[in-house]
Structure formats: C-alpha cells, structure tokens
Symmetry: C2
C-alpha cells in the first residue's frame, strides 16, 4: 500500500531528520530504512531524498562525510547537527499539533 503522495508533503523533512537522529546514514540506506520503519507504507524516493539532504546540509541541519572503510564501497554519510536536532524538536511539536487538529475535525461528528 502506498500513500497518496500529497500527504507526504511537509512531512518528509521530519521523517528524514528522525532517521538521522538515530544514527548517521547514507542516502540509499535511508530510503530502504524508511520503508522498513513504516511497514512499507511510506516510501522515500531518491529524487525526493537527495535534494532535501542537500538543502538540509546547506542550512546546517545535517553534515556529511565520505566513508573511508578499507575495501568498502564509497558511501556518503549524513549526520544530524545540534541545529538539526532543534529543528526536529520543533517539527515534532508541529506534527503533533497538526495530527491532533485533523483528528479533531474528522472526529467532530454531525453538528
């Protein structure tokens, strides 16, 4: 089951920051992890992911470095910064507020 993509808008950033708040990850990994973490409901396409990562990096929300493990294939890891954690907290509050409001309207019942 895949969600109407429009619903995803506005929530991708918080989802990405949440993944990175657990541990540094590389893009491809994040894409797979998102699907796993959400039981296959949410997908994070690469065409969506990379532009957002680059924006977050230029805004100082995440930092990146290339992996240097010997014999390993090169991977670009992203990790969240202090500033990014602040943004995450803010977005978490926003999500709760939004979710609550929608549920409130949906559950309002006949007037």
């Amino acid at each position: 089951m895949t969600i109407n993509k429009e619903l995803m808008k506005g929530s991708t950033v918080i989802l990405i920051l949440t993944l990175l708040d657990r541990k540094p990850m590389y893009g491809y990994e994040m894409s797979k992890e998102m699907e796993k973490s959400s039981s296959g409901v949410l997908t994070l396409k690469e065409g969506t992911l990379y532009p957002i990562l680059h924006t977050l990096e230029s805004d100082g929300m995440v930092e990146s470095y290339w992996s240097s493990g010997e014999g390993e294939r090169k991977r670009k890891y992203y990790q969240i910064t202090k500033k990014g954690q602040g943004l995450l907290k803010e977005k978490q509050r926003e999500w709760i507020s939004f979710r609550t409001a929608v549920d409130q309207v949906l559950g309002g019942g006949p007037a």
Copy 2:
C-alpha cells in the same frame, strides 16, 4: 499557531468532505468552521477552498445549490453526494494509515 502549510497539502480534501458530511455549507462558512473545529490550528483560505469545491463538484463528489431564503443574501451551498461519501471513507482509511506510519517512524527510537 498556524501549521506549516505544506503539511496541509493532501489533507484538505478529506477535511472539506468531512465538514460537508455533517451538513450542507457554503464556502465562507466552511472557511470559518474549519478554523473553529480545529481550535485555530487549521486554516482554509478561500483561494484554496473554491477551486477544490469546483473540482469536487465536477467530479460528482459534491452538489451545489443557491440559497433562496427571502431577504437573505445569496449563498451557494454545497452538499456531499453518495459518491463523495465513498471517497471520504477511502480517505479516512488513508489518513489513519499515514498517521500511524509517521508515528511509527517518529517513535522508533534509536536503532
């Protein structure tokens, strides 16, 4: 408090249909009611609302009629159709699924 507008995308249709599922309403009324129903968190701008209503109408999800009360100002009322109620049910399921998935990712904790 106003929500990041991007979060709204994808959920406006379900919110509009929900309001109309309670009773027929006119545009301006819906705009005000949305704010009230969500405790001021969600706003439904007219520039957003009317195009959506027109689309829903041409898709047979809602029907409209002009009010004819004597001495009353003219208002265009919208009411939900059977087909619209079907769409609403579908979108409700979708919302639950989406909300659950996001909460699941956010609440995942450190890996």
